[in-house]
């Protein structure tokens, strides 16, 4: 989908780590990206599971695209694939210059889809959107910005 240059935009990509990331390397990566993102009005979320990344970038379209190009040249990962680019009315990750969470390997129970795998597969728009919503919900709940409330 094409969006205007300054339109608030979300871009989601997946990629593979070139080598297993230790916590210190991830911390360094996040420090770099948060400084850069703050300067460019970029917010988003980075997920890591089994040497695979899924990252959501949101901000002005031109800044998001430029950043995606820069990220694509980073040798710490490869096989970068853009799964989704869409206009936004408001940011989903306004509180994070780059929120981060590691997911443990997921043995989804029988009858359950695997959200990370579904988003990563990018087989169909509906599947990608659903999986993105699920991961976004989980991120917000785990980050404490979506406080569950008691019934009634």
């Amino acid at each position: 989908m094409t969006v205007e240059n300054d339109q608030l935009t979300s871009l989601v990509y997946t990629s593979t780590a070139s080598a297993p990331f230790r916590e210190t390397a991830l911390a360094h990566l996040l420090e770099e990206s948060r400084e850069r993102n703050a300067a460019q009005e970029i917010t988003g979320m980075l997920l890591y599971r089994d040497e695979r990344f899924i990252q959501v970038l949101e901000g002005p379209a031109h800044a998001v695209r430029r950043l995606a190009e820069t990220i694509g040249r980073d040798r710490r990962h490869h096989d970068m694939r853009i799964l989704l680019e869409e206009p936004l009315d408001s940011r989903r990750f306004a509180d994070w210059t780059m929120g981060y969470r590691t997911l443990q390997g997921n043995d989804a129970p029988v009858g359950f889809r695997d959200s990370f795998a579904d988003l990563e597969s990018g087989d169909a728009d509906a599947t990608t959107l659903r999986a993105l919503r699920e991961l976004t919900l989980w991120f917000r709940v785990r980050s404490g910005t979506l406080a569950p409330s008691s019934h009634g």
């Binding site: 869409e86 206009p87 936004l88 009315d89 408001s90 989903r92 997911l103 443990q104 997921n106 043995d107 989804a108 129970p109 029988v110 009858g111 359950f112 889809r113 695997d114 959200s115 990370f116 579904d118 728009d125 509906a126 959107l129 659903r130 999986a131 993105l132 919503r133 699920e134 991961l135 976004t136 919900l137 989980w138 917000r140 709940v141 785990r142 979506l146 406080a147 569950p148 409330s149 008691s150 019934h151 009634g152």
Partner: protein, 87 residues
């Protein structure tokens, strides 16, 4: 698609990580189930209201599915909860 198990065929359940499960029907968000540290499963409706605590995952997912039934027509994706997802 591995739409097996005890769920009604029109409800799609996804597992984000071990213990965190999200339900949807026809693309509309129904709610989620989050396993607590004591091993119980707490079910939440589409607005993140807790609707019950259950010993078994199947009971919790059934509660979420039922909450979606009772809110049919007025439920669906809560933009404030899920974030704006545009097609």
């Amino acid at each position: 698609m591995n739409d097996l198990g005890p769920h009604p065929s029109d409800v799609l359940w996804a597992c984000v990580e071990d213990g965190f499960h999200v339900g949807s029907r026809g693309g509309d968000f129904l709610g989620y189930v989050d396993r607590q540290s004591d091993g119980r499963y707490v079910a939440f409706d589409a607005r993140s209201h807790a609707i019950g605590s259950f010993a078994a995952l199947e009971e919790a997912t059934a509660a979420v599915s039922s909450s979606g039934d009772s809110a049919a027509g007025g439920n669906g994706t809560d933009e404030g909860l899920m974030g704006t997802v545009q097609r």
